[in-house]
Amino acid sequence: MALKDIKAKIGATKRMHTVTRAMEAVSAVKMRKTQASALSGRSYARAAVAILTRIAGTEEVKKHPLAQEREVKKIALVVMTSDKGLAGALNSGVLKQAALAVKEYRADQVVVYAFGRKGEDYFTNRGYTVAKAYENKRDDIPLSDMETLADDLSAGFLAGSFDKVVVAYTSFKSTFEQIPLQHRLLPLSLPALSEIVEGIVPAKGKWSTEQKLVAPAAYEVEPSADEVLGVLIPRLTAIALYHMLLESKASEHSARMVAMKNASDKSKEVTRDLTRMYNKVRQAAITREVSEIVSGREALAA
């Protein structure tokens, strides 16, 4: 490679390094914020899903329309991805889980609710119906947004537009480990919900140790079972969705931070190698020039 080319390449790599380092710093700040909100939200989410789990075991709920198991003809899929890429294997992990969830169904049997552009693009490109697509730009999404989504899902389930609701999201374990998961949200059932609760383990506090869920046989419900469950189930479902969204957010920023850190490290390494190569080539050119001059002089002297 010519000297000039190497120099240009070093310049380009250095510029890339500044970009990735800046993105790393931005992601690190967002990561800290979203991790804190995901971790502090866990005890709340756990309490909410635990309530949902306990009441799901009672007779009133088994009779509730949202808990009715039907033959699955159509399925609703909620996919929580990021809007932007450059986050390592994060989105492909979620999309893999999502694809796994709908594998048994034809494209026209699936209704997709995409939270984040990556999921929307993936399913639109493959000919699925995307019923609703949300942007996933902000980090402080209000609970009410999830309530709207939960209302949509329950209404669709009750109207028979679909017979099952599955959510694919990323569970946050640590900065270096995020696990893509899928959970069944509707119809409500004890085993499916227990699975979600057991997945929610806060970093510290009362719930950080394993606790068995004991479902009482009957609840005294005030005013009436229908009224209470009508309010309770959509709200608790919304909280469960909100929890999954917070987890996905924390995962996204952690994954991006790590990916950008790797990119920065790599660009540093490449810069070092290229500089070394540049020096070598430069030295070779000097040596060649010197030997040319020397041999020219010798030829003249002879």
Binding site: I51, I55, E220, L232, L236
Partner: protein, 82 residues
């Protein structure tokens, strides 16, 4: 010694109360109700109003809530979600 139960009052991203309590008074959908220890399994939506907590130790505190919530009691523990 008065009987106590475990009480959790939480809002999204914010734990308002967590610990042993002697009683808690909440604005239920059907009117104000007080929950003591060993209350039977119970679930009800809440209206905006004030929650009064009497903890095991220390002064009783009141929390004003402006949103609807949920109260759930089971196995001698109560959870209030706002």
């Amino acid at each position: 010694m008065a009987k106590t139960f475990h009480l959790t009052i939480a809002r999204v991203g914010d734990n308002l109360f967590e610990g042993q309590a002697k009683s808690v008074t909440v604005p239920g959908a059907e009117g104000v109700l007080t929950i003591l220890a060993e209350h039977e399994a119970f679930v009800s939506p809440l209206k905006p109003g004030t929650i009064r907590v009497e903890p095991l130790e220390g002064e009783a505190t009141t929390i004003v809530i402006e949103e609807n919530g949920i109260v759930e009691v089971s196995g001698n523990q109560a959870t209030v979600l706002l």
